[in-house]
Assembly symmetry: C2
Homo-oligomer: 202 residues x 2
């Protein structure tokens, strides 16, 4: 098997997983700074402390890292979003929760997010990215449905609902480009500000 499989012995499994996600996190930081193509595997090995071949005990190849990064980013966010909309609450309240969780997530994982947005054109184009793509779509769909519900029951008004959705996506996706950990505004304050702008018609 060319695929590096995790160790079968349970005692080693924890260390393996920890080291692997350490590698992924390091890759995310480097990719975010220098770009995916702009980062060589040797820079990665240097940053992780491993030697050239050692990386391949944890990943199948460079692209594997990208997939892992996207997964770590989208999966928990999507799960949280599903939880929020599963609860019975007014649309406006759900939107606030969604945006709050979302902003907090992209701020905490801003390296992952920067990589995701930078490599977007590759992700949208190729077959093997179907899963990632559909996760993104699912999340956007949830957002849209909340907006639609709010519009339908009269608690939200939009000049154009789709444009409001796209504007929201733009704001939040751009956030990782400027936030600094420990910056002036907390993720919560940022999210509130975004909600206020989108809900301005209300």
């Amino acid at each position: 098997m060319p695929v590096p499989s995790p160790p079968t012995r349970p005692a080693l499994r924890a260390r393996y997983d920890a080291r692997r996600s350490e590698v992924v996190a390091t890759a995310a930081a480097l990719f975010a700074e220098r770009g995916y193509d702009g980062t060589s595997m040797s820079e990665l090995t240097e940053a992780t402390g491993l030697a050239a071949g050692g990386l391949y005990h944890y990943i199948e190849g460079k692209e594997d890292l990208l997939i892992a990064i996207c997964d770590e980013l989208l999966e928990p966010l999507l799960e949280r979003a599903r939880e929020i909309v599963a609860a019975e609450a007014p649309a406006v309240e759900q939107l606030r929760e969604l945006v709050g969780a979302w902003v907090a997530h992209v701020v905490e994982h801003r390296h992952h997010m920067l990589v995701f947005t930078q490599e977007r054109q590759a992700i949208e184009r190729e077959r093997r990215w179907r899963r990632v793509r559909s996760q993104r779509q699912a999340f956007e769909r949830i957002l849209d449905e909340v907006l639609a519900r709010g519009e339908a029951d009269g608690t939200m008004t939009f000049a154009d609902r789709r444009l409001s959705l796209l504007a929201l996506l733009g704001m939040v996706n751009y956030t990782p480009q400027w936030v600094r950990p420990g910056g002036r505004l907390s993720p919560g304050e940022i999210a509130d500000g975004y909600c206020a702008m989108v809900l301005s018609g209300t």
Copy 2:
């Protein structure tokens, strides 16, 4: 000189310039679709109809294309922005004009814009991009000054002016990712929508 200099004979100069900007436009379209690193020079030569070495009569190297693309994008926009704020008009009106011109520009040059945002991390990091970087900063500064003027004279209110600026940047910069020429919304309608959200406190 390794630099391909334009022909000195005036009769040829026009053809040369035309062909060069044709090459740049083709590169912008390819880069926007496949990414800068994801596009090989041979794909570019094929798309332009030139042969391998022929490109280098018009450009110094691959990176030269990136610089040209950014210049074609930012220079006219910045100039237009300076015109708008040079005129004496209420801040709100100037903002609408700015956003209108801006959205129209990124929609028309969405390929250029996609390349610019994708390669942002390279542009922000390296020395030789100082010019492009300062053009971007100058434009953002103009926007901020208009918002500040509006806030000062009481015609605009923001929960947090900086956040509103960043949100606006996010919305507009994201626009090229979803607009389609001849789409449902005109650039003007999009710009109006964005302004309404940012000025919602008013």
